[in-house]
Symmetry: C2
Subunit: 361 residues, 2 copies
């Protein structure tokens, strides 16, 4: 086993979820990520935690969803497992990133709704979402498997305290702020209020790699247009060039160059899916290229991302509404060129460089 796999498991256990004796752990991983799952089981044995190992094989979920007619329950046994667990570790990896591409998006949205109480319960526990460098994920990134392994483990096995300090400067700007304005290219001109909401410093705890600061927009405050110029993968399909228009916080028009129907299903999941639940600002300079993996892409230093759907409770201040939804889909704006991020009228990032970084003009 590559020693970096054990290092990765160690970062998850010690830094991300603070694993301890007696913790009831759920580990979910695709079989291609079995080495990391093995290393996590080893750590569980070391500290006296109790693992339950769920298979993340999406061939099985595809088969289930394709055979289903779309009347889904929230299964009692899955709920019971979730409620009684203390810690969740989800390892994302694929044998084929388009495995679920022939599942009906409407069925998928139905399933997502039925799973919402389980997702909500999980968010109230200690959890970590991470990735494993499988060949199919390397392929999506257009990289060799070994090159992609280096990329992933460089991003994951790093000094998270230094990263936290770097990001804290952005938290200090955004947390007390009222208005955020995002301008990029000719098509993105968006304003929103974050007044009263909290900005979270993500330094590799719930996401590994971490490397962003994020908050929730005030639900009805988002106004303007945005062009997400980076593609995303959803339900095994690539969605490109998403364009959204907002009025009073609500998506009033949408389009995509490719797989627009999947985007439409996402927005029609429920009423909350038409509102933004998250504004995130990527700050991890180790992630120096797009790999078409949201967990990594959204942490890039030259990007901001917004998610339609569910807001995280921890971001929402007292008195502000929490946007509830069964979905949460992140989308990225590349801020590297012809872009400005303003907080309360002050430019805090221009063309990808933060005001507190060298090279800011």
């Amino acid at each position: 086993m590559d020693p970096r796999v054990r290092e990765h498991a160690g970062v998850i256990a010690e830094h991300s979820v603070d694993l301890g004796a007696g913790d009831n752990v759920v580990i979910a991983a695709h079989p291609v990520a079995s080495e990391l799952a093995v290393a996590l089981h080893e750590v569980c044995g070391d500290v006296g935690a109790n693992p339950v190992y769920l298979s993340g094989d999406d061939r099985a979920s595809r088969a289930y969803l394709r055979a289903s007619e779309g009347e889904f329950e929230t299964p009692d046994h899955q709920r019971a497992l979730t409620e009684a667990a203390d810690v969740f570790v989800f390892v994302r990896a694929n044998e084929n990133v388009t495995e679920t591409s022939d599942v009906d998006p409407a069925i998928n949205a139905d399933y997502s709704r039925a799973q919402q109480p389980i997702r909500k319960e999980r968010l109230s526990k200690r959890w970590c979402l991470t990735g494993f460098p499988a060949p199919a994920n390397a392929q999506l990134a257009g990289m060799s498997t070994e090159g992609y392994e280096n990329f992933v483990w460089d991003a994951v096995n790093k000094d998270w305290e230094a990263q936290r300090e770097h990001q804290e400067r952005m938290v200090d700007l955004l947390d007390p702020a009222d208005e955020v304005r995002i301008r990029s290219g000719e098509e993105t001109e968006l304003t929103m209020s974050v007044a009263g909401n909290r900005t979270i410093n993500d330094y590799g705890e719930k996401n590994l790699p971490g490397g962003e600061v994020f908050t929730a927009p005030v639900r009805e405050s988002v106004e303007g247009s945005v062009h997400f110029d980076k593609p995303l993968y959803r339900q095994g399909r690539e969605i490109t060039d998403v364009r959204l228009e907002f009025e009073d916080g609500r998506v009033t028009a949408h389009s995509a160059a490719k797989n627009e129907d999947v985007l439409t299903e996402v927005l029609e999941t429920d009423e909350g899916a038409r509102y933004l639940g998250e504004l995130g600002i990527g700050m991890n300079r180790e992630i120096d290229r797009f790999t078409y993996n949201m967990l990594f892409d959204e942490k890039m230093g030259d990007t901001v991302h917004m998610a339609v759907g569910m807001a995280y409770d921890e971001c929402v201040g007292e008195g502000n509404a929490v946007n509830e939804s069964a979905t949460h889909v992140d989308m990225i704006v590349d801020m590297a060129e012809d872009s400005v991020l303003e907080v309360d009228g002050e430019v805090v990032q221009r063309d990808g460089t933060f005001v507190f970084e060298d090279g800011f003009e």
Copy 2:
């Protein structure tokens, strides 16, 4: 996918566990058996059952057990999942049948004790234990992978009603009986009472393949010596030539030619591990060779098997004690030659042929 995989999943769902709408199902399978897991998920979708998919990767459990110091709990989350589930399907298959061979048997026995409440709970639900023809299992049998696939699917995808009828003749002899006597070769001479206990006809429900009738000995009634001339695999180790001596039902002496220490740990799991919990008589003529896989070997027509440890509640009649134990280990006596099975003084099988079969002398 080989069409016999979907047929196998269909037999499990329709015949073995009677899967229906709303059933909360737990599917546990090693990744090498993923095709059967996929087919089972498809069936779940078809009928409206809710699957949770556990990974049966024994590299993970090995890593966990080797890192552990042996103070195990019965984890609340695993217990909650088990209690809230209706149906369990366990698919046995290996990537390496000796994967757990370097786990300390004492740690394994500790773990087994902690898992006992969960096993007991599972036995109270609908469940099926089956096998998948993985290359490592073919190798253990000394067969080509394709030859082994034919062997497994011939044994599994068959007319279970005809098998039930064949076996019912043995149930009719054994169920009302008092004493059973087993003689084989020069070393096996064993008597036991089955008075008041029930004989179960196993025709592919809880075990797939099925093909045995089984009951529980009256706990203190077993007397004599037995040489299990077929090897068994336990904790990734081959145990050969097990010899046991019984007085008042209890194992008073034991030996094995190979891995005797693993046998010793099994017998020392708890007091119940020193008593027989099961007497089974193999009756499946499709299984025509030893493949060193207990699920198949114990169903062979020319064998009887006995298990030390836990008795099945369903076998034990009112007023008789149920042998409780955290373990249940089956061992086989080859009855093909120089062997006699007697029930209440009447020979019911000689040299592997039953009294109701052609060729009985």
